[in-house]
Symmetry: C2
Subunit: 115 residues, 2 copies
Amino acid sequence: MSTDPSCVFCRVVAGELPSTVVAETDRTLAFRDLHPAAPVHVLVVPKDHHPDLAALSDADPALLAGLWADAVAVARSEGLDGGYRLVVNTGADGGQTVFHVHVHVLGGGPVGTLA
Amino acid sequence: MSTDPSCVFCRVVAGELPSTVVAETDRTLAFRDLHPAAPVHVLVVPKDHHPDLAALSDADPALLAGLWADAVAVARSEGLDGGYRLVVNTGADGGQTVFHVHVHVLGGGPVGTLA
């Protein structure tokens, strides 16, 4: 498994930083965002380190597919039956702040407008 | 192929409503949003009708995976090297307005905060 010791999400995956885990599969981990932007705000990350969506798509398409499927499963297990938003920010223009690819799962109430 | 004659995106896929197509695969179509929320705002939809992400995930995981991969490919072909955001709204709380699953690809400049 590829990891980056300087990456905060790799350290969460390794258990070196505390997190509130809500789901785990062989290849992904889902945990609560420390600064929630909605009543439910979970991040779903691959355990492998990939800096962004483009890199993951190139390196491991099956993992990319699994990441989305697991995000949908998290929305379901969190009981977001009223709806939810999935967001992935890529690069500076996209507002990405942690360069370990992650899917935001936002819900638990109206999550506002699109952009 | 499953279609819903009352669905606006099915009608776009069928060519019954005009759209500016930027990419097409066997199973997906990408076209510009009529009301762009960013300098580049493309919608990527499956050609099959699936009302939302949860339904698509249950019905056709391979198509779900292809949809994301195609969205990443669109970001690349649109030259969004500075970054971009992918968004999927699901259900009322998620702000979904057209009930044919679609991925928003937003970029071409800073796309603002997360939610």
